[in-house]
């Protein structure tokens, strides 16, 4: 599968990712330095304190100097600088840790999206025009027509509050985040909230392509050979039905990253999305730039991974 062509393709894409990351971080760096108000100032600063702080962060240098030292720090040392609001907090380890948290929730969400979406899609295709099918249509309509913050709030209400009250506290979903990786009880709900809107899209796609595949000749042939229905579905139909799902993986991954900004805030998860929302409001320039850089790299790598997934799923594709 890993032909020479594929390796060259991967190499080219990685170079493109690096350029995109530079472009994105540069735009943000230059853009955000125009923002009014900065995190360093407060009503208590007097005398030379403000100048000393500006100097500490290198903000008293010309913009061009700041920019080159930012770039060299980033690419030579992987150093994104220090938080302006929380003194003494280095940003690189902070965003890396937050990245693992976001990635963890995101992966669970992805599993939800694809697993649940395809399962429902297949069931709906096989049981076309039954209540399963209609239920699916209804939930998918909710999925793409309700803002995710409303869905998330209702999920909290039902699974974290009412379930808790109903079972007298014996069974419910926890909100918040414990330790670096969270606990298993804490991940399900946000992952579901994050993945649900997209699961319905996956379900619709799967259903449509399944319906088409089922009518193909080779499925009929397989049936005629006397293969069991489940074998036919899994081995023949599902594999082909997967291809359209793969095509939306790219936007899906970006959607999950973006959705994190909302979901992590509602559920109190210390990930990149929440970091972005708080640091942009606090005017913590350095973190905003760092988070943006992370996002750009992540999206680039995720897209590359998706393209490579095509190769695995669909043997006809070669790069």
């Amino acid at each position: 599968m890993l032909t020479r062509g594929t390796l060259i393709y991967i190499g080219q894409r990685l170079v493109l990712i690096v350029f995109t990351v530079i472009a994105v971080s540069s735009i943000v760096f230059l853009g955000i330095h125009r923002l009014p108000g900065d995190a360093l100032f407060n009503e208590h600063l007097h005398g030379t304190q403000y100048e000393l702080l500006l100097h500490h962060y290198g903000l008293d240098k010309p913009l061009w100097d700041q920019y080159t030292s930012f770039l060299s720090g980033l690419f030579l040392h992987g150093n994104l600088g220090e938080s302006l609001v929380n003194r003494g907090v280095p940003i690189t380890p902070l965003v890396l840790r937050e990245l693992t948290v976001s990635a963890e929730v995101g992966l669970f969400a992805l599993v939800f999206t694809i697993g649940l979406g395809m399962l429902l899609g297949v069931v709906a295709a096989i049981r076309q025009n039954t209540w399963v099918d209609y239920l699916l249509s209804t939930t998918s309509v909710i999925g793409y027509s309700m803002p995710s913050f409303v869905i998330a709030t209702f999920l909290i209400l039902v699974f974290a509050v009412w379930l808790d009250n109903l079972t007298q506290g014996t069974f419910y979903f926890k909100i918040g985040w414990t330790g670096q990786f969270g606990t298993i009880g804490e991940i399900w709900l946000p992952a579901f909230a994050l993945g649900f809107p997209y699961a319905s899209i996956v379900a619709r796609l799967t259903r449509a392509s399944m319906l088409e595949v089922i009518r193909q000749d080779y499925i009929r042939t397989a049936r005629a050979k006397g293969l069991r229905e489940t074998v036919i579905m899994v081995r023949h139909a599902l594999r082909n039905a997967l291809i359209p799902v793969i095509t939306i993986l790219g936007p899906l991954v970006i959607g999950i990253i973006t959705g994190g900004v909302i979901i992590e805030n509602i559920f109190g998860i210390p990930g990149l999305g929440k970091e972005f929302a708080t640091s942009i409001l606090n005017r913590d320039y350095n973190i905003v730039i760092g988070v943006f850089t992370m996002f750009a790299a992540m999206v680039g790598i995720a897209n590359l991974a998706v393209d490579l997934a095509y190769v695995v799923i669909d043997p006809r594709i070669r790069y």
């Binding site: 100032f41 005398g47 030379t48 000393l52 909290i156 506290g169 926890k174 109190g268 005017r283």
Partner: protein
């Protein structure tokens, strides 16, 4: 994220507080017993991670309420706001000329790393604080030599080197230690307020350990290994922006000995409704500390109506006032301009009065606060329970008179050109600020026919813009640092250091005000009180502010948590809290 300003720049002697109502905390129905739980861990959320825990530069109320458990001063406030000895054996009295104090230090106090506490720690902490020029450096402003040290330009390791060799540029000449357990303080001018200033929790003057600080001069407090103080609790773990853990210091020297063994602060949740849900799930023992003392009104309404939970709700008036500020000066530094300028004379005065009278404050309190989380500010700037409160309904600006407001507006601005395009600016971090802004917008629209747009800006940007005079109309407020009218009239409109000018938020400054203020500040308390009230009257006559409301803090405390809660000024010390078995 502090909702209001908290600053001390120059203080006078503080009278005893008699009228503070202490809250009975937690307590209530349920399975409360008197035996202690085996797990003595207190868990609660804080709204935002620390800005800094270094007493030399700390400035946020939320940070200082953590610091008060890690560090000590020579003296401190008890829960009834009396000044009591802390690392000193007694509260010293000033010499006859008011220029010298002698502190005798405890011999049994140690830092959490085992270092013994001695007079050299006081000298180091105070010299360092004065040299670093943090927010509360002026706590030490009266000490001889402060004018020299405050001009220090060195920072970081360079400053540490100067401090280590006791360089004259960073040494307060008025501060000497004849032996390990005595500190003599000589003042340049009499300052009856010195003890109040150094008693303020977690502010400059609280004691740090040079052995720990010198390992990382700026960020020693961020690392559990070097975050060393003499307090009953020490930091044991910190994951920035996620969680912080504290543990009781074994065999701590002071009293009462802490019952809690661990305190876990959760930083990852920063939405109050989410925090409350987690509290209700049993994830937290308390919600209301660390910037959460303004819980959403909707949740308070719901909890009040709940039979099982209402007993856990603690409402306590905080010494905070909220009002609207006008921009009253337009010059090269203050760029906003606007129609409310002092220099525009009577018509601007009438316009300000129109805007003040057009707001129905009683309705504001019932609609925005549901009459729970705030009370109408009808007695002047200083809230009830504090010295200087003018008395209920004594503030004419708090009245609502739509007809008079409208007629004032028509005469002052007949064409409507002056009030076109006005903007009211606020910071949305405090949950009440946004509904208040929308309420004001609606009142001015309905009662004056003036359309004011509202502009939310982040807290840091808001403070900066307001002090620079960039907003014509803005949210304003103050939380008392201590119980003395000087804290209000001097810090808000007096000639003080800190801002480019006096009266930074409004720009308001008159010779009559400054003269009377100087007189009042110099007087002993009962005589000064009348003058301070006259000062408020001057502000009223000039329509400097639109009074809105006095704030009520809200806390959720599980019934098994004993001793948690707050007084009007600050949260209870952790070493007074116990977890009962439940």
């Amino acid at each position: 994220m502090t909702p209001t300003s908290l600053r001390i720049l120059k203080a006078l002697a503080v009278g005893g507080v008699s009228s503070i109502v202490l809250v009975a905390c937690g307590g209530g129905t349920g399975t409360t017993s008197t035996s202690l739980a085996s797990n003595q861990t207190l868990t609660f959320p804080i709204l935002a991670d620390f800005g800094t825990l270094d007493p030399a530069v700390a400035d946020a109320e939320t940070d200082q309420e953590i610091q008060q458990n890690m560090f000590d001063g020579l003296v401190r406030f008890d829960s009834n706001l009396n000044i009591i000895p802390d690392l000193a054996t007694a509260v010293p009295t000033a010499s006859a000329d008011g220029l010298s104090y002698t502190f005798t230090l405890r011999k049994d106090a140690t830092f959490s790393n085992g270092d013994k506490f001695t007079s050299k720690d006081v000298l180091y902490s105070w010299n360092r604080g004065a040299a670093m020029q943090g927010a509360y450096a002026t706590n030490l402003a009266a000490i001889a030599g402060y004018d020299v040290v405050s001009n220090n330009k060195a920072s970081g390791a360079a400053l540490e080197a100067l401090l280590e060799k006791k360089d004259p540029s960073v040494t307060l000449t008025g501060l000497t230690a004849p032996d390990d357990y005595t500190v003599n303080v000589k003042l340049a001018t009499p300052a009856g307020w010195l003890l109040t200033a150094i008693a303020l929790a977690g502010s400059t003057g609280w004691i740090v350990d040079q052995n720990a600080v010198k390992q990382d001069f700026d960020n020693w407090w961020a690392n559990p290994a070097t975050a060393i103080g003499t307090g009953p609790f020490k930091m044991t773990a910190r994951v920035p922006k996620q969680s912080v853990d504290f543990a009781a210091v074994p065999n701590w020297w002071g009293s009462p000995k802490p019952t809690l063994t661990k305190v876990h602060l959760d930083v990852s949740v920063n939405d109050a409704s989410t925090a409350i849900t987690k509290y209700e799930q049993g994830g937290y023992d308390v919600v209301g500390y660390g910037g959460y003392s303004n819980l959403p009104v909707a949740d308070i309404l719901r909890i009040k109506a709940s039979s099982s939970e209402s007993s856990q709700l603690v409402l306590h008036p905080k010494v905070r006032s909220y009002w609207v500020s006008f921009n009253m000066v337009h010059d090269a530094k203050r760029t906003a301009g606007g129609p409310f300028l002092l220099s525009d004379g009577q018509s601007a005065h009438d316009l300000r009065l129109a805007f003040a009278l057009a707001v129905d404050k009683a309705k504001l309190v019932t609609v925005v606060c549901q009459s729970i989380v705030c009370t109408p500010a009808t007695g002047g700037l200083i809230p009830p329970t504090l010295v200087g409160y003018m008395g209920d309904n004594q503030d004419p600006l708090a009245k609502f008179d739509a007809a008079k407001a409208k007629s004032l507006l028509t005469s002052a601005d007949p064409t409507g050109s002056k009030t076109k395009g006005l903007v009211y600016t606020y910071d949305p971090e405090n949950a009440l600020n946004k509904p208040t802004a929308e309420f004001l917008q609606s009142q001015w629209h309905d009662n004056l026919g003036v359309d004011v747009s509202i502009q939310p800006v982040s807290h840091s940007q808001f403070i900066k813009g307001r002090l620079k005079g960039q907003y014509t109309l803005s949210r304003d407020g103050w939380q008392a640092d201590y119980n003395h009218p000087q804290d209000w009239y001097d810090n808000l409109w007096g000639n003080v250091v800190g801002c480019p000018d006096s009266g930074c938020t409004t720009g308001y400054d008159t010779a009559a005000y400054d003269k009377l203020l100087a007189k009042a500040d110099a007087e002993p308390m009962p005589a000064a009180l009348a003058d301070y009230k006259t000062l408020n009257q001057q502000l009223i006559d000039d329509v400097v502010y639109i009074p809105l409301y006095y704030s009520v803090g809200s806390f959720l405390i599980k019934s098994y948590v004993k001793g948690a809660g707050t007084n009007s000024f600050f949260d209870n010390y952790w070493n007074t809290i116990q977890i009962l078995s439940h």
